[in-house]
């Protein structure tokens, strides 16, 4: 394919300063069961090519789902015309340096391929999960979902880039909803579709699957009679499946250089972070170490090259609490004059690459889970995100979780329902007082990170240990 694409690129009749082709082919199977009955079975395939053309320092794009030579030529001509028409109004004069020559390959690790389980076997598995979740008549809904994604991408450019990457991804989730009159509680495995990884079926059908499913069903029922989360200011302990969301919303998005440059102000928003903050802003406590790391085997957004060919490397964005680097592509780095990472990513062939998160992780500390809890006199421990909202500068946030435990005198005691907390970003991260060690570190992901104009939903991964934040405002549900 690479050779064919290079040949196709060379045959385009375009007077461009630089041009590139990015072909993406994606096949996704989606299987879901509710209350033991099939809801959705099927497979979606999309393929197409994004032609990028640089003219007078402006990149234009044309994208088509036909790989026929005539369509490629038409896409190139459209891209050229768009670049030319826009070049007089370009926000920044780009050079081919933002599309460096690169060659290489990447392939996701996996053990059991997508066809290791037949459609029937997958449905049987999902139906059994639903049956196991229904631990009580008060369970009014059970769901189980498994999604596989096989993605191949090819990138060639007029300055000699040749990149091939092949991804295998698995997204799974199950949930139970319990109801007693007006009280409704839902519990899932780590939040909605949070178990997203690169790999095969070995990731889902694990030895402890059935005990986890049973526990989710039981906890949904348990929440019906649990006390409301109290309204108070207290120590807050967040499990990795909530830290995922916390990192994503209050660290990842505000550090995106395109937000800081203003590109996103009409949609997702800007950032409280200023260009002058890099290298000096105290973002959080000294325990806060955040890495951009697309090199973690099996994490959801691992890759070797971003969608414009920049080689992906592990980089500290925040070290010992100090902001060092932003989430910005070569284009954004050129515009802002600050260091970034290989994060120019597109949701598919039909969208242009923009600054995105990939894997964004909080590095582990030194404390075991028991150590974290032992020294807390009064606090709340929360698991699994269920509600999320943050302002357009990524400053004032409010997040809610599915399940919580009261912490009293160093022990987890009674279960709490409808746990929520709210804070402002830098103040919250400065309240980080304990960071769990490797034994508490878990990674999750989501396929639903939305951003960009035109809009793009993209896959991101987040790993984190359990963390303790001192003196946070928590509260419960109800009108």
């Amino acid at each position: 394919m690479i050779a064919e694409l290079s040949k196709a690129l060379n045959s385009l009749e375009i007077a461009a300063d630089w041009s590139g082709l990015r072909v993406v082919k994606e096949a996704s199977t989606y299987r879901s069961v509710r209350d033991g009955l099939p809801q959705r079975n099927g497979k979606s395939t999309t393929q197409g090519v994004m032609v990028e053309v640089m003219v007078n320092g402006q990149i234009g794009y044309g994208a088509t789902n036909s790989l026929q030579p005539a369509n490629l030529q038409a896409a190139a001509e459209v891209a050229y015309q768009q670049a030319l028409a826009a070049s007089r109004w370009a926000i920044y004069p780009l050079t081919p340096a933002v599309r460096p020559k690169v060659t290489g390959q990447y392939s996701s690790p996996f053990v059991k391929p997508v066809d290791a389980l037949s459609p029937q076997e997958i449905n049987d598995l999902l139906m059994r999960i639903c049956q196991t979740l229904k631990v009580s008549d008060r369970i009014v809904q059970t769901t189980a979902t498994a999604i596989t994604n096989e993605i191949e991408s090819w990138f060639v450019s007029s300055n000699g880039s040749e990149v091939y990457q092949k991804f295998l991804m698995l997204e799974t989730g199950y949930s139970a909803t319990a109801q007693d009159g007006a009280i409704v509680q839902q519990r899932s495995n780590n939040g909605h579709l949070a178990n997203c990884y690169q790999g095969g079926w070995e990731l889902f059908v694990s030895p402890d699957l059935w005990s986890q499913v049973q526990q989710i069903g039981e906890q949904a029922v348990e929440l019906l009679t649990a006390e409301e989360c109290p309204t108070t200011v207290t120590d807050l302990v967040l499990a990795p499946d909530q830290m995922m969301l916390q990192i994503h919303e209050s660290v990842g998005h505000p550090l995106e250089l395109d937000r800081i440059l203003g590109d996103e102000r009409n949609y997702a928003g800007g950032s409280f972070v200023k260009p002058t903050d890099f290298g000096q802003l105290s973002y959080g406590s000294e325990l806060m170490n955040i890495t951009f790391n697309p090199t973690v085997p099996g994490e959801f957004a691992s890759y070797s090259f971003d969608d414009i060919g920049a080689p992906a490397t592990r980089e500290y964005l925040i070290k010992a609490g100090t902001l060092l680097r932003g989430l910005g592509s070569l284009e954004s780095q050129a515009r802002i004059g600050k260091p970034g990472v290989a994060c120019a990513r597109a949701s598919s062939w039909n969208r242009p690459p923009i600054d995105r998160m990939a894997n964004l992780n909080l590095e582990p500390g030194t404390d075991s889970f028991e150590d974290l809890i032992r020294d807390i006199e009064q606090g709340v421990y929360m698991e699994a995100n269920r509600s999320w909202s943050i302002d357009d500068q990524r400053y004032k946030f409010q997040f809610g979780c599915e399940y919580a435990k009261q912490i009293e005198n160093g022990k987890l005691t009674k279960t709490l329902r409808n746990p929520n907390y709210r804070a402002t970003t830098p103040e919250f991260w400065h309240r980080l007082v304990r960071v769990g060690n490797e034994s508490t570190w878990q990674m999750y992901g989501t396929p639903y990170c939305g951003k960009g104009e035109p809009n793009q939903a993209i896959r991101v991964g987040h790993g984190s240990p359990t963390c303790v934040f001192a003196g946070v405002e928590v509260f419960g549900g109800g009108a």
Partner: protein, 448 residues
């Protein structure tokens, strides 16, 4: 731009549908849906171009039913028979292999009826290579940021029962913000299917006038409860939450609806609040993914009481209800909130002292069973005293139940509605929008 054979899509779709449907066995049923678009996207920042391009895309979905079992394949659709037909044949072959392996689905919606429709809304929108030169000269000197999206959209349907629908439209939308030097902003949308230069300039003038009001330091408002006016765009955001686990019959049946309390009669909404699905304006297709035609009007909440929920054919089968043309997801497709009696010129004086909110941001249920929604104020939001705009505000977080702001605390709705276009472009460009008035409410709760 010719990135997809947009003019040939219908002919190729018809030909493939006919070929596939004629190939079915006696015990097989098939449903075909098509999405096609040829779109231009130009992204702006500081009245300059950040990114510019065009895309051509199409997706054909085949859903095969046999023995109460069902699976689908979605494949690329280019409009070129030679390219598309082999993919469609392969998809049908794969489905025939997979479907017998799947469990029986007792609530499978089978094709039935003979509904047909064909709607083509031709537009006069800007030529792709003229958009930048048309838009940007008018905003020089302004910090103008946003996106222009325009082009042709197609939605189509055919099935083995004989139903067939075609909907094609040319549309554009300009979704923009204007910023002051210190980051205060106003929001605007300009959309339609006929480009009107004078209307564009007038829209910008309105935004510029609004921006002038933002040219003073924002006022910090302590958390608390304030009398609040929510302009139509802000109301639209709140009403959009009704699509996410609220008016859905399935959600109500399974404990996932914020309107369970209303349905059970444990809470009431204000008699001033009426919500309707209204397809009269023809902005979106009336047919759903099963080819069913929605009624031109379907009242959902009338004077604060549930009149209808959105009931899909699948939900109807499962719970013994009567379907009303809803989509499978039972979300709002063409909503309208009935206006009230508050005149535009009386908004500030009736608000008296409190908050004037033009837009909201990032809404989510904070406690769905009790109808509690959290979100942020955004863009042109003001503190008002004795009927006068005093100053823009620093953004506030709200956390409030719909049973309060659409219940006892709803004072009035404006006598006018505005059309808030749907400008989402996830996967493909959206169609339609919502017609809403503004809301004046008492004791709206701000928490951060």
């Amino acid at each position: 731009m010719k990135l997809i054979a947009i003019d040939g899509l219908e002919q190729t779709f018809d030909r493939i549908a006919a070929a596939l449907l004629s190939d079915l066995q006696a015990d097989e049923q098939l449903r075909l849906t098509l999405m096609g678009e040829q779109s231009q996207f130009i992204r702006f920042n500081t009245a300059k171009v950040r990114q510019a391009g065009c895309i051509g895309d199409g997706t054909l979905s085949l859903s095969l039913m046999q023995g109460q079992r069902n699976s689908y394949r979605s494949i690329p659709f280019t409009g070129d028979w030679e390219t598309d037909w082999p993919l469609a044949q392969t998809a049908l072959t794969e489905l025939r292999q997979e479907v017998p392996q799947l469990p029986v689905d007792p609530y499978l919606v089978l094709p039935q009826g003979n509904a047909t429709s064909r709607e083509i809304h031709q537009g006069q929108i800007l030529a792709p290579d003229t958009v930048v030169e048309t838009l940007l000269p008018q905003v020089q000197g302004l910090d103008f940021t946003g996106i222009y999206a325009g082009g042709s959209l197609v939605r189509a349907y055919a099935d083995s029962a004989g139903q067939k629908h075609w909907f094609a439209t040319d549309t554009f939308s300009l979704d923009y913000s204007l910023f002051t030097a210190d980051g205060q902003a106003v929001k605007g949308t300009f959309a339609g299917n006929q480009w009107d230069e004078a209307a564009y300039i007038a829209k910008l003038e309105g935004s510029k006038h609004q921006l002038e009001r933002m040219a003073q330091p924002p006022k910090s408002i302590p958390r608390g409860q304030y009398r609040t006016y929510l302009a139509p765009a802000a109301t639209a955001d709140l009403v959009s939450m009704f699509s996410w686990g609220a008016v859905s019959e399935a959600a109500l049946q399974r404990g996932g609806s914020a309107l369970g309390l209303l349905q059970r009669g444990e809470k009431q909404l204000s008699p001033a609040f009426t919500l309707t699905e209204n397809f009269q304006r023809g902005l979106v297709p009336r047919f759903n993914e099963w080819g069913e035609i929605a009624p031109l009007e379907l009242p959902l909440i009338v004077e604060g009481r549930f009149k209808n929920t959105l009931i899909s054919s699948r939900t109807a089968k499962e719970y013994g209800k009567t379907a009303n043309g809803a989509a499978g997801g039972e979300y709002l497709r063409s909503p309208e909130v009935t206006p009230g009696t508050l005149a535009a010129e009386q908004i500030l004086t009736t608000l008296d002292t409190g908050l004037y909110l033009s837009n909201l941001h990032y809404l989510n249920w904070s406690d769905r069973p009790t109808g509690r929604i959290t979100g942020m104020t955004r863009y042109a939001c003001f503190w008002v005293e004795r009927g006068e705009l005093v100053a823009p505000i620093e953004n506030l977080r709200f956390d409030e139940s719909l049973y309060r702001f659409l219940g006892d605390n709803l004072i009035n709705l404006t006598e006018f509605q505005e059309f808030i276009p749907e400008v989402d472009t996830y996967e493909n460009r959206s169609l339609g929008g919502i017609w809403v008035p503004g809301l004046l409410v008492e004791q709206f709760t701000y928490t951060l």
